[in-house]
Symmetry: C2
Subunit: 193 residues, 2 copies
DNA sequence: CATGATTAGTCAGCATTTTGACTAGGATTG
DNA sequence: CAATCCTAGTCAAAATGCTGACTAATCATG
């Protein structure tokens, strides 16, 4: 019973189908919760039978019909209870860091390549979050938005996500550079003097 | 088949028992891989039957005997193969951020309390990592350590962990303060003018 | 005008993770 | 000197997560 609260929290923000939710999870929600589409479909079904969300069919003529969901008052109550008990500490699983942990014992170039490609991914995510934040706050500046605007929750989690990816970018980049240097490998664009 | 590489990577650094490894996972390794003790015991058993680690019994008289493990050459090969294929993107699951995402719809004080208590935890982790880094580098300064010293992998992942917890601390703290302000709740120590 | 991408899912089943209960002896603390 | 903590695990079962295969219609591309 863990995914359910992430789904409920994501649905607070609008009426979405499983398919749409899968995209949202892939982008913004992945900052604090990871889930693959199939998990969402089955969790939505369970949440609906439990009455925490309610779905309705949308007939579409240009593309397949879909079922969109909204959080019910019972769903809000569930979130309320969820927030009342201490959250379990967060978990991280990052294979690339496992590789770096082992880098003294294995071939460094493989790890360096991965660091460099993940740095690009991280940079793209930073930009995406940047745009999301701009979009959320519209023409207000950040301070004003934070002071008054609503909803503020998604903005705050997005701030955390952006920061996380910024730090990822910097660590991936500097770690790759360092390992290159130690291995005596020239970075792309560098030349030996 | 994912935990196995984290276990192998952790064991590169010395000869540990399941029990010791559980503590190590709880502290430093949790920066990049989360696992509970029972997972480690069963994973160690599997790794040993597969010949990727080898264990030996240590007879102790003052406390229960234990079985300690070291990575075999086959285990190193396994890590090598692991590093040769692109790592899956990392995953995060953080219930406290789920609560913040939902904060506009639920009781804010519950969330604020949790943010404040997790800020303390994060601050303690920062200090722990700080001490770990100092211990690893001994009397060298960081630049020199990074340039030459060995092993460098655990130092690098610890740097990432420290940074992550620093950012957690700052985000928890500033988010709690902001939510207090928006709710019109005085922070501890503050007084209304 | 065929090929592939996108939307919008379903179904079955394996794999992994987590929880909880239990053992057992020595060390520590009130 | 009884109660609790720490070391060092084992076992079974429940809960959760993930993979892969499949359907089916429309839209975009070459």
């Amino acid at each position: 019973m863990a995914l359910r609260h992430a789904v409920l929290a994501a649905l607070l923000d609008g009426e979405y189908s499983g398919y749409q939710l899968a995209k949202i999870f892939d982008l913004s929600v992945s900052n604090f919760w990871h889930a693959v589409p199939q998990q969402l479909y089955s969790e939505l079904a369970k949440l609906e039978t439990e009455g925490l969300i309610s779905g309705r069919q949308i007939i579409q003529h240009d593309r397949p019909n879909k079922r969109v969901y909204t959080v019910t008052p019972a769903g809000i109550d569930e979130l309320e209870r969820f927030a009342a008990v201490p959250a379990k500490p967060g978990i991280i699983r990052e294979n690339l860091l496992v590789m770096v942990q082992a880098v003294d014992h294995i071939s460094a170039p493989a790890v360096i390549t991965q660091l460099e490609s993940r740095a690009l991914v991280a940079a793209a995510k930073v930009e995406l979050f940047e745009r999301t934040l701009q979009h959320l706050r519209g023409d207000l500046d950040e301070e004003e938005y934070l002071r008054n605007a609503s909803p503020v929750g998604p903005y705050l989690t997005c701030l955390r996500g952006r920061r996380f990816e910024q730090e990822n970018y910097e660590w991936f980049t500097s770690t790759a550079r360092l390992l290159r240097m130690r291995a005596g490998i020239q970075a792309e664009g560098e030349t030996s003097a």
